[in-house]
């Protein structure tokens, strides 16, 4: 194969790896409101 085909393949693979990392990192950093399972079944006032 021509050298530029290899270059395109390498660039595409690098872009896919970077995109995957960014998506994974965004998922890991996403916040929420976490609660105990037992609390989801009922909480009592103090």
């Amino acid at each position: 194969m021509e050298w530029w085909v290899w270059l395109i393949i390498v660039v595409l693979l690098a872009a896919a790896a970077f995109g995957g990392f960014v998506a994974l990192q965004a998922k890991r950093r996403r916040g929420g409101v976490i609660i105990a399972r037992e609390n989801r079944r009922g909480r009592k006032s103090s």
């Binding site: 990192q25 890991r28 950093r29 996403r30 916040g31 929420g32 409101v33 976490i34 609660i35 105990a36 399972r37 037992e38 609390n39 989801r40 079944r41 009922g42 909480r43 009592k44 006032s45 103090s46």
Partner: protein
């Protein structure tokens, strides 16, 4: 018995708190809020899990217990120093939230009334923060994306009672909540008080 909301309390959405930076009194910017931990013993906020600073940093193994928060300001969560951070398992255990994975995210859960109607899906949680220095923070309501059957297009705020029952993956609220929905935070404080008074048989 419900209590009237305190004069110096502020209602805020959980999404306003997550991603807020955690800063020490020495001016060090050490973390960002990731999750809000909803304590199992009465609806108070028990603490925060944390992300490291910068996009490349993932979640930290340490968390911030609510008792260690010096102030919850509009732009930052202030703490005395990074020594007040403790292990996430410890904070989860102290709030009654098991550190063994037996906890879940409220966001995305369905809200059902006790007469079996689906009100919608939780998109945010409303927190009542009392005191300039964030003396106490209670979860007082949910913001929901209404079920299409409700005929409402925009998000609604529903107050929570003092006693709440839920089952499985659903959050259960009394059917009377339909009469106290709000569209914005401005009138939501009064709706919470009126709703809780009605549930407690007061006028």
């Amino acid at each position: 018995m419900s209590e009237p909301r305190r004069a110096n309390s502020v209602l805020m959405r959980s999404s306003e708190i997550t991603k807020r930076v955690v800063v020490t009194f020495a001016g060090e910017d050490i973390a960002q809020v990731k999750d809000i931990i909803y304590a199992a013993n009465g609806g108070q906020v028990g603490g925060f899990t944390l992300n490291g600073r910068g996009f490349l940093a993932g979640p930290l193994k340490t968390s911030l217990a609510w008792a260690s928060v010096a102030a919850l300001g509009p732009d930052a969560v202030m703490i005395e120093s990074d020594s007040v951070l403790t292990s996430t398992e410890e904070v989860l255990a102290s709030t009654g939230t098991a550190g063994d994975g037996q906890h879940g995210d409220i966001l995305g859960s369905d809200v059902l009334t006790d007469d079996g109607s689906n009100l919608g899906r939780v998109v945010d949680v409303i927190i009542d923060v009392t005191g300039v220095h964030g003396d106490q923070a209670d979860v007082v309501g949910y913001e929901i994306a209404p079920d299409p059957k409700m005929g409402a297009a925009e998000r609604l705020l529903i107050p929570l009672p003092d006693t709440l029952a839920a089952s499985g993956e659903h959050l259960i609220v009394p059917a009377a909540v339909r009469n106290f929905v709000s569209h914005d935070l401005a009138g939501f404080g009064a709706a919470i008080v009126a709703y809780r008074n009605q549930l407690n048989g007061q006028s």
